[in-house]
């Protein structure tokens, strides 16, 4: 049984201006110890998808369809009190903005003590702090600094503390939402190394969310490309890099600079991403696609398995078969 199995997941935000279908018909599964990358541009639904895994989609978001099974249990239908065990213990979420989950008026020690003792009420405060100090040491932060407040740390250190809090309870799955976006490359590389070493040490699975395809290709076993809420392509990193199939993925790969290539010529993708309140009919990429066919403008392409665990949502590969 996979650790995580998502099927036909659809999430709507019911806003006053209309319904935004932020995630639509997403299916994938994740094994223990695996690293999966979610890539997409701003607004493509990465955070919404990530938050769905712990059922924390913010208001006015609603999971309208599908299931999210963790160890076989569908969390979409679980009562709230059972979710508490899932959140933190089984699945930890590292939020896009570290300051949203660090309380500025609480010392780092209090953050750890509270987390550990909420989930393990029998652990004494002193014991919890001992454990927290070990975690800090693992993160490359001097254990004495446990008595400091969040603002006394640099952005990179705060992000490390977040990772420490997320992994303190030894979860099976960590979801890291743009954990390094605000950081400089050197710090970024260190943070990603840290996540990788924790994964190797504790065998946890990781979902890494990023708008940066370079990071995802470098760090993840598998990749999902999201576009306007749809999964456009899903394959192993190696396969996606060698044989990108979706026109959008191909475009992305041609628009990211690689410092190892001499005289690289980048190619731009024309147009811009669609307005989520007014999606084009048919394939939501067609207005920007250079392979567009007649059917693309009217029908939605299905997600097709093209072999080698490689999935693509594009009519080029489904021989004109539309979504049933």
């Amino acid at each position: 049984m996979p650790l995580l199995k998502i099927g036909s997941l659809t999430v709507d935000y019911r806003t006053s201006r209309g319904t935004i279908r932020a995630v639509e018909d997403v299916s994938f599964s994740l094994e223990k110890g695996e690293t999966l990358g979610l890539v997409g541009e701003s607004g493509s639904g990465k955070s919404t998808l990530g938050l769905s895994v712990i059922r924390l989609v913010p208001y006015p978001g609603v999971i309208v369809k599908g299931h999210v099974k963790i160890d076989g249990k569908d969390i979409v239908r679980l009562p709230e009190h059972e979710l508490r065990f899932i959140r933190g213990r089984k699945v930890a979420y590292i939020f896009q903005d570290p300051m949203t989950s660090l309380n500025p008026i609480k010392k780092i020690s209090a953050h750890f003590a509270e987390l550990i003792r909420t989930h393990e009420p029998n652990v004494k405060e002193a014991k919890a702090l001992e454990r927290a100090k070990t975690v800090l040491k693992d993160l490359g932060i001097r254990p004495e600094r446990i008595n400091d407040y969040p603002h006394q740390f640099s952005g990179g250190m705060r992000q490390r503390i977040m990772i420490g809090l997320a992994t303190a309870l030894n979860p099976d799955l960590v979801i890291a939402d743009e954990p390094t976006t605000a950081l400089d490359v050197i710090v970024q590389a260190k943070i990603l190394d840290l996540l990788e070493s924790l994964r190797n040490a504790y065998g946890m699975a990781l979902i890494l969310i990023s708008h940066d395809l370079s990071i995802i290709l470098e760090r993840c076993d598998r990749v999902i490309i999201l576009y306007a809420g749809h999964m456009f392509e899903h394959a192993s990193s190696t396969e996606l890099h060698r044989n990108p199939r979706h026109p959008y993925t191909q475009g992305l790969l041609q628009s990211i600079p690689n410092i190892e290539l001499a005289d690289q010529k980048l190619a731009a993708i024309p147009g811009s991403p669609p307005n989520m309140l007014n999606l084009p009919r048919g394939c939501r990429f067609w207005p920007r696609c250079s392979y567009v066919m007649k059917i693309c403008r009217t029908k939605e392409p299905p997600l097709i398995d093209i072999g080698h665990n490689h999935f693509v949502r594009c009519f080029k590969y489904s021989r004109g078969r539309a979504k049933s």
Binding site: D184, D212, S214, E260
Partner: protein, 328 residues
């Protein structure tokens, strides 16, 4: 190629705001040494890039050059003339030749202004055109930045545009006076990947068509490599390495440049690289380490590094490095 911009021994120190008590007991003022003695020149028609981590002084340098900030020490030359002390009408005329675009197109465009007014505003301030004439010029520059047909954009407000389109509007405004020199401060950093390349291509085309020179500011070295002719790597207010981009990427010499390049993610899962690890974090710009300011993090440091500050020297032709152990 002639030099369009030259800066010599440029410094910018910002006084640190302190509480009353601290001021009372402090023996001397302390400063943020945002830019600390840099010298370089930009050749006409090239793209010269300032790169480096957050807080190293890139933006401050850009703002000093176009005279939005007063330097603490040093000189700035534009087309051979010293513009360091320019004031009044002369400065106003200079502003037409030097423009700046910022990272955040939301912040740099007035949300209540229609595009036609936002772009044409500088023409009115400088008393060059208004009304119908202004609109004609605006239509022309919108066309140049790829917002076509331009009539469709003039009456829109910034929030009705995508991030990429907004940055095009900012570009349109910056070229309205036919400037010679543009400081582009992280112009694509907040733009989604799928729109970024088109924007970069646009900037490259404008350079060709309008004969522009850019000072490009970025923390993204992969973008820097793609767009630049020459690159200067800054660390804590100083240039530690400067050369044409080929030589910088093939043969990075300063340990900081090497570490920076080795940390850049490569979009190829089959490529595993060796990373050069740095210890510690970037020190504060208020307490810059003695000697070589990089010594607290340098994997190769020796005794003299914490005592003597290395001078930036030409180690190979047109390749400058500031490190005690790299010599020609």
């Amino acid at each position: 190629m002639s030099e369009i911009v030259k800066v010599e021994h440029l410094k910018k120190y910002f006084p640190v705001q302190k509480s009353f008590l601290e001021q009372l007991f402090a023996r001397k003022m302390s400063y943020v040494k945002a830019v600390d003695d840099i010298t370089f020149s930009v050749k006409r028609g090239e793209i010269f890039t300032l790169a480096g981590e957050s807080g190293c002084g890139k933006t401050t340098t850009g703002r000093l050059i176009i005279r939005l900030l007063e330097p603490t020490v040093g000189e700035i030359y534009f087309n051979g003339a010293d513009i360091t002390k320019l004031k009044g009408e002369k400065l106003r005329l200079l502003r037409r030749k030097m423009q700046i675009i910022f990272q955040d197109p939301y912040a740099s465009l007035n949300p209540r202004m229609k595009i036609v007014d936002a772009v044409g505003h500088p023409l009115e301030i400088h008393d060059l055109a208004k009304g119908k004439e202004k609109k004609e010029i605006v239509l022309e520059v919108l066309e140049k930045v790829g917002l076509t047909p331009p009539e469709q954009f003039t009456n829109l407000h910034p929030h009705q545009l995508s991030g990429g389109q907004r940055q095009r509007v900012a570009l349109a405004r910056s070229i309205i006076f036919n400037p010679e020199f543009i400081v582009a401060d992280e112009p694509v950093s907040m733009i989604d990947v799928s729109l970024r390349t088109a924007l970069i291509d646009l900037m490259l085309n404008l350079r060709k068509d309008l004969g522009l020179t850019y000072l490009f500011i970025t923390h993204d070295l992969a973008v820097a490599k793609y767009i630049s002719d020459r690159i200067a790597i800054m660390y804590l207010g100083k240039i530690v390495e400067m050369s044409n981009k080929e030589s910088l990427f093939l043969n990075p010499m300063h340990p900081y440049t090497q570490a920076l390049l080795s940390a850049i993610p490569i979009p190829n899962p089959e490529r595993k690289r060796k990373r050069i690890e740095l210890t510690g974090e970037v020190p504060s710009a208020i307490n810059i380490p003695q000697g070589c300011r990089f010594h607290s993090r340098c994997p190769y440091k020796r005794d003299e590094c914490s005592k003597k500050e290395p001078r930036i020297t030409e180690v190979e032709k047109e390749h400058f490095v500031a490190c005690h152990f790299i010599k020609s």
